[in-house]
Amino acid sequence: MKTSDYQQGRNIIAGVSLVIASFVILRTLFQFSDYLIPGMSYLYNLYSGNIAPNVITVILFDFRGYDTLGETFILITAVITTTIVFGWGSLKGYKKKETPEMTEKSTVIQRLMAFPLAIFLVAFGVTIVLGGHISPGGGFPGGAVIATGYFLTVVIYGLKKTPLRFTHRYLVNLSTIGALIFLLTGVLGLVATTYYYGTGYYLYNTGVDPYDIIHVGAFGWDNLLDYPDPTHPGILPYLNIGVGLNVLAGLSLIAMFLMEARKDE
């Protein structure tokens, strides 16, 4: 069988399955709104108000905090994979190539505006990260905003002349610190609950202590890692900071490696 025939046959099969799939998906989604129920969301809305005002942050970092750990790690995996794609740490070894600059020069206005805008973005990102438990936002959007600021300066001024200059090692360190903050906060919850209760719970919110497991005055504080705020979000701000560091470092690393790529031949 020739390749073209084979290709054509495969295209026909793909086309037919595409049509069937689209019909099923559209049909299902059309009648879906008749079946919707509140489900768990009602419970989360009911319980979350006791921890922090922003219900979504509470779900993200408390009830489903472990999912967020997975989410952090898929970003790390993607960053490492991107570095492997460009040869860093691969089995053949990494040859540092000379960094190519984009050939098109940026205009004066771009160069004048980019740096203040980037500084604004970084500051804005920091506020988003720190206020994640009260207002909409948190580690992910905040980290992404900071990474966008970095990316902007890199695109406008080039990798070498950018005022916000991060080295590769520095970003790896930042993402390591961010991920370790998350992982070790979880381990702290595990250890503390095992010590006081016998059963360990990973990522237990030691600051809020919703089940009165870690008794008051355990290590001289009221509760471990409590955030000094009347709203008592417990460990959530710390997790937000960890995620924010990790996201900003990860996305910046991806941008950096994409910018460094060049033709081999």
């Binding site: 009911l46 489903r64 994979t81 492997i84 390591t176 990522l203 089940y211």
Partner: protein
């Protein structure tokens, strides 16, 4: 029961911490080596000492569900993420960690120490452990996505054009399967309001027949399952991945995807236990995979490609066990998955040895290997016997149980299929054995520097394990059977 569950999350969290550390210590080879070996011992140790139970993440206990407002069909639900650890999980975790350990040792032994590469191996180990343990369908989804990216990274690290292409295909279809799994989860969440698998199965049973939305969710989740485990429409993509990775890593990848097959099939059966058509659909795809995989394996003239297709067709055989749908069949399928990953790992390690020693795996260039490495040839013969179900070895026990189960389920024709697959596998691999070790007139140079003592030790240990399970099958099979019966699927 609750008190012993403390160590369960460490099976996932410790590999993640170690992955972060070895990535951080990249280019400091001695520390990477030391950390990897020490942590592997710990990884094998944890599943052994952990007792059965459930782990509640963030400590959120079972709470009342206010059925009149939330419309959830059961009175109490888990609000947090839950991991459950039973007999099947224990056996799978032990086999997975031990084989990961062997792969890592082989990688370290070949001076391919790279912290980044080790980090990917550890992350893929953590992701597959999480998939095995997860009792929460969204958590399961997150870790399947991590697994896809990490496996692609392990293939990409070879840095050849073919491996890039294989990884790209894998990622593209991974996007489709990930989206279909997530859409299925969304449909279930919208119409039952739950994410925990145990709760979901109870709620679906309490609700009577599946809603039309639920039916589409079954189809979408099954599509994702087919991709994750490399069954029929996606068998080419999966075998491409096995073929283009380093062989000792392929040994790891096939373990992971076979265990993901088992874990996700168990999830499907638990959630949709009342839905009979699911079994027939799974059986159909499984039979297709078996037939096509073994036919493709018979045609190959390259050792790694051949082994990849054998691995895919054996995955089909595991799925046949699930397709039968009886507890006996499911238990036989899981048992076969365990036996099969052991003997497939031997063959992939032999391929790795051949690749290092002769610098090629093309069958028509190789030959007269038995004079050079008699031990490896002998073990390969034994492994061929093991994987094609010859009596003293382990696969015989599981294939025999599969045949029995198919007779019991009223489809004795499947028994013939199992026997035919064994014959085809035997023919395919014994051909490779002949071409590598017996055929006169080799065109390759023997690399004298490669002694491969570690690989030899690994394959001898694995073949002894195969023999042990073959002689005392009930040691492994009985806990699995009891577990499957207790699930009540």
């Amino acid at each position: 029961m609750l008190n012993n569950s403390t160590l369960i999350p460490l099976m996932v969290v410790l590999p993640l911490i170690m992955a972060i550390l070895v990535n951080f210590l990249h280019q400091k080879d001695k520390s990477v080596k030391f950390i990897s070996i020490v942590s592997l011992i710990v990884f094998v140790f944890i599943p052994v000492v952990t007792l059965y139970g459930v782990h509640l993440f963030s400590g959120h206990l079972r709470t009342g569900s206010f059925p009149e407002v939330s419309k959830i069909l059961i009175p109490e639900v888990y609000m947090g993420i839950v991991y459950s650890y039973g007999a099947v999980q224990k056996i799978l975790m032990v086999v997975l960690t031990i084989l990961t350990g062997f792969s890592v040792l082989a990688v370290i032994n070949k001076k391919m120490i790279s912290g980044v590469y080790m980090a990917m191996i550890f992350i893929s180990l953590a992701a597959s452990s999480a998939i095995i343990l997860a009792d929460d369908i969204f958590n399961f989804f997150v870790f399947t996505e991590i697994l896809v990216v990490a496996q692609a990274a392990l293939v990409i690290a070879v840095q050849e054009a073919k491996s890039f292409k294989a990884a790209f295909k894998y990622m593209i279809f991974g996007t489709i399967s990930g989206a279909s799994i997530l859409l299925g989860i969304a449909l279930l969440l919208g119409s039952y309001g739950l994410l925990n698998i145990t709760d979901l199965s109870h709620a679906i049973q309490a609700g009577g027949a599946l809603t039309p939305i639920g039916l589409v969710a079954v189809a979408l989740l099954t599509l994702g399952w087919l991709y994750e485990s490399g069954l029929f429409p996606f068998h080419i993509i999966k075998s491409n991945i096995y073929e283009n990775a380093r062989p000792e890593i392929s040994a790891l990848l096939q373990v992971q995807s076979k265990f993901v097959l088992v874990a996700m099939a168990l999830i499907l059966f638990r959630v949709f236990s009342g839905y009979a058509l699911l079994k027939s659909v799974i059986l159909g795809f499984a039979i297709f995979t078996v037939v096509i995989g073994s036919v493709m394996a018979l045609q190959q003239v390259e050792l790694r490609k051949l082994l990849s297709f054998v691995a895919v067709s054996q995955a089909g055989l595991v799925a046949v066990g699930f397709g039968l749908g009886t507890p006996f069949g499911i238990a036989a399928g899981i048992f076969h998955a365990i036996n099969d990953v052991l003997s497939m790992a031997i063959l992939f390690f032999i391929a790795s040895f051949v690749y290092d020693k002769f610098k090629t795996t093309k069958l028509d260039e190789l030959g007269e290997g038995l004079q050079v490495v008699p031990l490896v040839g002998f073990v390969m013969l034994l492994a061929t016997l093991a994987i094609s179900g010859v009596p003293p070895f382990n696969s015989y026990q599981s294939e025999w149980r599969l045949i029995q189960a198919s007779a019991q389920a009223g489809v004795p024709e499947l028994g013939i299929l199992v026997i035919l697959l064994s014959v085809a596998t035997f023919v395919a691999i014994i051909k490779a054995f002949y071409m590598i070790f017996m055929k006169p007139g080799s065109k390759v140079e023997v690399n004298k520097e490669v002694r491969g003592n570690l690989t030899k030790a690994i394959i001898v240990i694995l073949i002894l394990a195969c023999l042990l399970i073959g002689l005392f099958p009930n040691m492994v099979y009985d806990p699995i059977y009891n577990f499957v019966v207790s699930l009540g699927v």
